[in-house]
Amino acid sequence: MLEYTEKIREISQKLLKDSKVDMVIGFRKGTVPMMNEPTFIRNANEVGQLIWDSNCGINLANYLTGRKEKIGIVAKGCDSRNIVVHLVENKVNRDNLHIIGVPCKGMIDRRKIGVIYGEEILNVVEDGEKIVVEGDGDEKVYDKKDVLQENCAICIHRNPVIYDELVADLVEEQKDVDRYEDVRKIESMPPDEKWAYFEGLLKNCIRCYACRNACPLCYCPTCFVDESRPQWVGKSIDPVDTRTFHFLRAYHCAGRCTDCGACERVCPVGINVRAFTKKLEKDVKELYDWEIGLDPNVRPPLDVYKTQDPEDFIK
């Protein structure tokens, strides 16, 4: 990962020095293990703050929404796909972007590591495909592939789909991944069990909306949950309202979600919110053979009418 970091710094420094961009958006080292903080650099001699490792799971496309400056942005596979979504939805202008593509090798799941390590973690070091965890207990070494974020483990677009420069050679994409095992599991449940599954899933939700706010797709000026005239959904932690927030949020992401996992990563109580969005992703794939964020020049299926669109669910 060191090479990545160095290359990112090098590219950023050049961009800023040559005044090609006003700022570079990337990550800086966090203050707690397995956390990095999104940051911006305006000054070429501050590029030393920028880093890259397996804790850069936040989706940086989220920080582009509506910005007008010239921006250099560090983008892994899913970030780049969300940049494409932004381009398609006119949320940012391609001419203002210099995309520093990062062929991604997957992000590690801080929670998963916390659970399997069991004790307090004080330091985590990456050593190629190994993750070394130091803490209150004995030092442990895990295979990175076993502690990946769930969405990274099934990712098939690790390489940026759009970029101006790359920080390294493209990586090999994962093949033969079963992307929808978990969705099928829910699909096979009888209705009551499905209901109970989602009820259990959401029982700890505190409606902080971190999942919504971390998502690059959620940029409506007033979100439906915040609208008060008319009020679409109650604001307490009543389970009906909480569920309404979640399924409607998912609908708003239908055909747009890149499964970047940011929503799930940020939830303070560890709710697997992708359980909602992934079903829609699967449906869109099956019904329209569509994967979002691969080409800025094609309109997404829910935007356009085609005569061969499936319609057997319409009576």
Binding site: Q49, D136, A214, K235, S236
Partner: protein, 355 residues
């Protein structure tokens, strides 16, 4: 102050007894094994003391996230139509078992807001008065805890009625208030510890305090001018990554803001209050459509200014933070109050450096 000796068995037995006359609340590990939260304990269920700190703070025990305050009916045949009627609620007596000293101390910070000479918040106060806090001292503070420099500490007794200090085979228990005494009595904990018990506790306390690795400095906050901090250039850098999710405020034991909402169904309705957060744009949106804190920079600054400056000035009792580390660990983008506090507290102005 009395110190009792309670064996593990006596603790379990005592809690069982207490469970008959109190609502017992204690740390319980969530089913998915990721974290602990305070939950009501069923008959015979014991709290799990094998935790560092709970994910959510116990503030909801006294101050629920959503709480009904009034009821009303719009039915014009009802003589009381269109009148807000206070919901009669007698909170049942409850005991919080195993609350950490930082979280207990947080109640005393919040109390400054909910219990003032002019205004008293009946909902918060009634619940607080019905609550007995049976604390559990921290022997192994987390690396991100900075309670000792935030006016609290791993053995801090403020707000607590009783403090359990784990030792070999059982606990030493400091009985701190009348409520605590009654609690010990009801539970049948009567065994007084030897005369050196307090000394033993002090030694352990010192050891625990030494284990705290993280600290903040707050000495300059009070002397600085509001505007001096307010206009610092670093706020853009501090706030850039924030997604305004409010996690920091919802998890925080000392954040107290709420929003009042009416919900009507048919002819009947309730007025309730829900936690709110200064990190949300809606929080400060005026009816006119104007928003004085329309940008996230304003909101992030507000959170830190309130905790580390306005509160300090207004109440003269330290910062509005007990150093529990929740926001440090769970802010999804790693905005760290310790770092911000250092920036706000530093005395000379130097360029923004962030390494």
């Amino acid at each position: 102050m009395k110190v009792l000796k309670i064996t593990k068995e006596d603790l379990a037995k005592g809690l069982d007894t207490l469970n008959k006359s109190f609502r017992l609340i204690g740390p319980v590990k969530d089913k998915d094994e990721e974290f602990h939260n305070f939950e009501e304990l069923g008959q015979g269920e014991l709290p799990d003391f094998n935790f560092r700190n709970t994910r959510l703070s116990p503030k909801s025990i006294v101050y629920p996230q959503s709480e009904k305050m009034f009821e009303y009916t719009l039915d014009s045949n009802d003589p009381e139509h269109d009148i807000l009627i206070e919901v009669k609620k007698e909170p049942s007596p409850q005991v919080v078992v195993g609350i950490r000293p930082c979280d207990a101390k947080a109640f005393s910070l919040v109390k400054l807001n909910f219990d003032t000479p002019e205004y008293k918040d009946p909902y918060w106060l009634r619940r607080f008065e019905a609550t007995t806090l049976l604390g559990l001292a921290c022997h192994n503070p987390c690396s991100s805890c900075f309670c000792a420099s935030a006016g609290s500490g791993p053995f801090n007794t403020e707000s607590l009625d009783m403090l359990l200090v784990e030792e070999q085979g059982g606990y030493l228990a400091q009985v701190l208030t009348k409520k605590g005494e009654e609690l010990a009595h009801t539970a049948g904990w009567t065994d007084e510890a030897g005369s050196d018990a307090q000394k033993q506790i002090d030694t352990m306390k010192e050891a625990a305090e030494k284990r705290i690795k993280s600290q903040i400095s707050t000495d300059n906050l009070k002397n600085k001018l509001d505007m001096e901090i307010y206009e610092e250039p670093y706020w853009e850098d501090v706030s850039f990554s924030c997604i305004n999710c409010g996690t920091c405020t919802y998890l925080c034991p000392t954040c107290w803001c709420f929003d009042v909402q009416d919900e009507t169904c048919g002819n009947c309705g309730i007025r309730m209050r829900n936690w709110d957060s200064c990190m949300y744009p809606l929080f400060s949106l005026h009816g006119s459509g104007h928003n004085p804190r329309g940008e996230k920079l304003h909101r992030v600054r507000q959170r830190f200014m309130h905790k580390l400056k306005y509160y300090v000035d207004k109440y003269d009792s330290g910062i509005q933070c007990v150093g529990c580390g929740r926001c440090v660990n769970h802010c999804p983008v790693n905005i760290d109050i310790r770092r911000v506090c250092e920036l706000m507290n530093r005395s000379e102005v130097c360029p923004v450096t962030t390494e």
